[in-house]
Symmetry: C2
Subunit: 256 residues, 2 copies
DNA sequence: CGTCGAGTTGATCCACCTCAACGAAGGTGG
DNA sequence: CCACCTTCGTTGAGGTGGATCAACTCGACG
């Protein structure tokens, strides 16, 4: 069948004509039209703004057009736990498809733009657009897998391996987008990153310092230059999890 | 809309007539018939047997009719990590719906029976049976949420809280099935349970001992009697995660 | 200038892992 | 029947990774 990816297709609507996409992906123009009609946005979301909150009734799913988000839960004592990070091309809030309330709060880490798709409308199109259903199920399967891998990373790997894996993950994302894979920009605070990696901020900070003193990285604020990729890979372990995840899951955007 | 649950319905086919189910749930007889035709089994699975293995091509999803399973991944050094446990009414292998290879290996912890549903056939029925699609999406959303909650439990809670939460979870399951909520039978070895709780077996063993010496539980092999439910709840924390999960997710089986 | 949040660094402590030995239960073959 | 093995579970001793508490720096911003 035609194998396309939804996030890429959505962004492509902003750039390409239906005509061109139709020819390129062998989809009917009408299918593309009705899909495009579902897409709202891109909407601008300010840094620190929440897209939705845990427990909200859910009506839409979102695709990150640019920027970055975290999804988090708040536990009994009010501390927040970062469940996931979302970058360009990632979907958020898929539980809306199942008419479930939001499981997490989604907050923008940086100035961002998102596409919004109304869940009810999307469900109506499921049967009409071939491959759409599979694509959505694929996205949800990935979410499960990603979550599991995240858990395994957090609890089988020591702190340095977690950081190394994360750096490699970011590096691969840069490479995928045609930028310098050795030059990273962390879109989030130390606190958020530590939360995602399941560490205390102090531990993360120390770790960055130790990496720097071993000449694996050079740190200036949120800008990180990778200078010991070889060694970082070794630290992350042969099967460093997040990068694998990145390779397997992240199909390049249509126009990347 | 008609709100039914797939696992319950599948088991109900063994017990009730289409006629009765149709009247009870307001579904068309034809829909029920075609749904029933999808169901293979129950198939007997022996203790220790694997239903499928990580990386396998996936063609079916499974629903646990009786018994219990674990899903696990094997990491580079060959150690296995228990990703999830599955009891009566749980689905396994949902990634098959997305035509993805198996993310995990599923192994029976006890003598079990499962229903098998062919993914391709099921997908064909998606558009025809109202609510089926939503139900499957719901199951996948739950899987994501469950996995996140599991991760949070493992990271933010100390060992005793994890064990307490798990005991309460089992207790609620017993209650839900109309049995004595104070009398539990662990279907898995200490090693498997420790893996699921993210602990070393020794730690789990010590913890059980400590619980017993504080008269919270009484242990005889895999049989556990809860004698300090109050205190166990306190240990698990106000928002003990897994039980919440149980309450929210587990709709009683149709004929329970 | 003072204030505030983000980030770093230092000192301390403990929950849990690891290694190791041992006991109990069940299966197998002589 | 006993001797042997394996698997499962318990218990002890010791080491450590990273959390926690606390102080301090730095830049941004009013």
């Amino acid at each position: 069948m035609h194998h396309w990816n939804l996030a890429g297709l959505i962004s492509a609507f902003c750039v390409y004509e239906i005509e061109w996409l139709s020819a390129r992906y062998g989809m009917r123009r009408q299918e593309l039209e009705s899909l495009r009609k579902l897409v709202r946005g891109p909407l601008r979301i300010g840094r620190g703004d929440t897209l939705y909150r845990q427990g909200d009734g859910a009506g839409s799913i979102y695709s990150v057009a640019s920027g970055s988000f975290k999804s988090l839960t708040t536990d009994a004592d009010g501390r927040e736990a970062v469940a996931d990070l979302h970058f360009e091309g990632d979907f958020m809030g898929l539980e809306a498809l199942a008419e479930m309330p939001r499981s997490f709060t989604a907050e923008a880490l940086t100035e961002s733009r998102v596409f919004r798709l109304d869940a009810a409308e999307l469900r109506k199109e499921l049967g009409r657009i071939p491959g759409l259903e599979t694509e959505l199920l694929r996205l949800m399967s990935q979410a499960v897998w990603k979550s599991e891998q995240h858990r395994l990373l957090l609890h089988r790997q020591v702190a340095s391996a977690r950081l190394a894996a994360f750096l490699l993950y970011l590096s691969e994302c840069e490479q995928r987008n045609g930028r310098d894979p050795g030059s990273l920009h962390l879109p989030m605070s130390r606190g958020d990153l530590a939360g995602f990696l399941g560490l205390a901020t102090e531990t993360l900070s120390r770790l960055l310092g130790r990496f720097a003193s071993r000449n694996l990285i050079r740190v200036r604020g949120r800008r990180i230059r990778l200078t010991g990729l070889q060694e970082i890979s070794r630290l992350a372990g042969k099967r460093y999890l997040i990068p694998v995840l990145c390779i397997v899951l992240a199909q390049p955007l249509l126009f990347a």
